[in-house]
Each structure stands twice: as C-alpha cells, then as structure tokens.
Assembly symmetry: C2
Homo-oligomer: 219 residues x 2
C-alpha cells in the first residue's frame, strides 16, 4: 500500500490485473513481459519474483479465468427455482455470451495453445471438468424426472457441449458474420440442441424457436 520507490506493494496482483486488462482487448499471444513491466513501472525481471515463468503467469490466469467462467455460466444451470429447460436455455445463452464478451479469455481457457498448462491448472478430463460435470448432472437430473430421454448421458453431454463450444468458437473466430447471429437465431439453435434430449412423448406445437412448445423459456 505504501508507495516507496523500491518495493511496490502488491506487484503480483497488479501483474495479473494488467494481464487481464490486456487480454480484454488483445490476444494473449501479444501479451509480453515488457508490457507488464512497463505498466507497473518495474524492471523486466521483476516478474520473476512472483512467477517462475511466463507460463506460470498464464496458468494463474487460466485458473482465475475458469473461476470467472464458472461464476458466469453455472448459476443459470443450477438455479433450482427454474424449470430444467429454462436452466439449459439460460446457461447456453450465458455460455455464448461469455465467449462473446471475453473472446481472448475464452480462447485462453478452451484453446489448444496452453492445453498442457490447462491440464496442470485444472483437472478437466471427463467428469472432473466442472462445466462438463454440472452439465452432465443436469442432463441426468432431467432423465430421472422423465423430462429427458434416458439415453447415454455422456454422449448427450458431449454433443451439447460440442455445439456450444463450436458455435462460440466460430463466432469469436470470425467464421460467421456476427450481425447474422441474431438472438432469434441463437434461440433456434439452442432449441435444436435441446430438442434431441426431450422425451418422445412431448409434442411440439410449433417448429418456431420457442414458439409455443415446451422449449419456450420463461423470460
């Protein structure tokens, strides 16, 4: 807190804050240690007193990033006051929204470049990945209550997640004109993703997205 010219106070947090501010605007690939030292007014090697390498800084960012992601997406999925369908819909919307609002962070978390760092940062394989696990749990909950078909929940989880991840990636990586990605279009897609899960007994009164079928979320 006390600013004397030598010791900085809480350099480590400052480095992280500046790094996150940076990837709010530019890709993490362009983040350089010089940017961090310049922004903090320290020397180029000061960061090595707080992180053993650039990779360790990235690893810390990944850990915090997954916390942020989870905080943004999970509550909608776990909100027991809403119907399961609503929860799926709202968390899917949150997922895409997180990616759109934080494209560089999303790529850092789910991209390949730091896959090894991610694997050491969090245990993401199979059921251990928090996002994956909670999605799978929600699907299994729906299967028990009879809302969803009693099929392979692992496969269903993968397919939902693939659709969300693929859509988010294609959007933020510039593969489709973002202007064409209207809310209505997204809702149609989310409806499609969910339509495969619900039991055969449910009749869809309309093919319109959330028109008047079961998939219309309460908003």
């Amino acid at each position: 807190m006390i600013k004397n010219d030598y010791h900085h106070g809480n350099l480590k947090d400052d480095f992280l804050k500046i790094a996150f501010d940076f990837i709010a605007k530019e890709d993490v690939e362009k983040l350089t240690l010089k940017i961090l030292s310049d922004a903090t007014g320290t020397s180029r090697s000061a960061i090595y007193r707080h992180f053993s390498s650039k990779e360790e800084l990235i690893e810390t960012m990944i850990q915090k990033g997954f916390d942020d992601f989870d905080t943004f997406v999970s509550p909608s999925l776990k909100d027991k006051e809403k119907s399961l369908i609503d929860r799926f819909y709202l968390s899917a919307k949150a997922y895409l929204e997180f990616a759109k609002q934080n494209p560089n962070l999303y790529r850092l978390l789910f991209g390949n470049k730091y896959a090894k760092i991610r694997e050491s940062a969090i245990n993401i394989k199979d059921d251990d990945c928090s996002g994956f696990a909670s999605l799978k749990l929600a699907i299994e909950e729906g299967q028990k209550s009879g809302i969803l078909k009693k099929e392979d929940s692992f496969m269903r989880t993968i397919l939902i997640w693939s659709s969300l991840h693929g859509l988010s990636s294609l959007v933020i990586d510039g593969f489709m004109d973002i202007d064409k990605m209207s809310d209505e279009l997204c809702e149609s897609m989310f409806a499609d993703m969910l339509n495969n899960l619900v039991t055969n007994k449910v009749k869809f009164l309309s093919n319109m997205p959330f028109g008047d079928g079961i998939l219309k979320p309460n908003r």
Copy 2:
C-alpha cells in the same frame, strides 16, 4: 533437380513439404524458420527469396490445407449416388476424421491464431466458405426434396457446422478421453445432429444410433 552446392533446385516446394511434415507431428507454433533452413541445408535467410515473411509461408500452408480438407470431406457430401442422409453421415465422419488425423493442420485452418491470414488467404465469410457453402447447399437440396424440414437453412448449417467443429476441437484439444469416443458414440452424435433436420413426418423406429430408423446409412 540438379544438385549443385549453391542453387538448390526447388527450395520453395521443399520448404512447404518440410513444414507440412513438421506439423504432422508438432504444433505449427513450434515451427521455426531455423528448422526449415536446417532441414534444407540452406542459410537462415534463404527462405526470404521464396516467401516475403513467415506469415506468407503460413498463408500458403493454409491455402493448401483447405484444399486438402476439401478433398477429404467434400466428395462424401457431393456423392450423388448415395442418399442425402448417407452423404451427411459420411461427410460428418470424414470431417471428424480429418481433424483427428491432422490435428495441427486442423487448428491451423480453423483456429484463431492465423485468422487474419486465413481471411486474406480465402474468403470464408458466410456463403463464400466452400465447406460452409456446400453444406448449406446440401441442406437446401434436402429441403427441396422434402427429406428435410423447410426451415432456416442458414441456421441449420451453422448448427451442424458448430457441432462438428466443436466436437472435433474438443477431441483434438484433449477435453475428452479419446478412448471414450467410440465409433458408436460418434454415430449417435451424428444421428442427433441430423435428427433435427429431417421432416416431422418421418417416424423413428428406434432411438438406437442408426438402429433401424431412416438415419441408418448404407455401409
């Protein structure tokens, strides 16, 4: 062809070949110009007589990579001797297979790192992207013939592509245990992707993947 000690013959092609050989095993991020000069036995600056920069080399690789991708995936989709459902199924399988066989190339083509280079290499936006366009055409063909629902073909195309891209990415980026990705599981997922497209009038006799419903491809 004639090897004298100074002029190399066809260095440009050799550079490209070595680069593709490299990303067959390692990520394109690790490809360095020194690797190329060492492998060809030339000096470190020789490559600049054939590519104005490393980015231009990458751009050439992206162009050729998309050609390879198209050659691998498109024929199945355009094979008029097969049913439309079969064509969807087989090209989806080819898509995933290409990503699994060429993970580093797939990431180079569809990842974010070289997005700008890709955009200058090929016109990928909207209908101009060859893969996207041919998928959309196939969907519209199915809509005309009555096999597929007459809904927004753009949205349907995006969702199918998102599912394929997301699944491929998650698989090659280590988000799921590859051993759990059995052929049967993939087939179930492809079936799910397609189930949303087919007309309501079609009755599915089974929920089993390609069990005995319309979605069973001829193999």
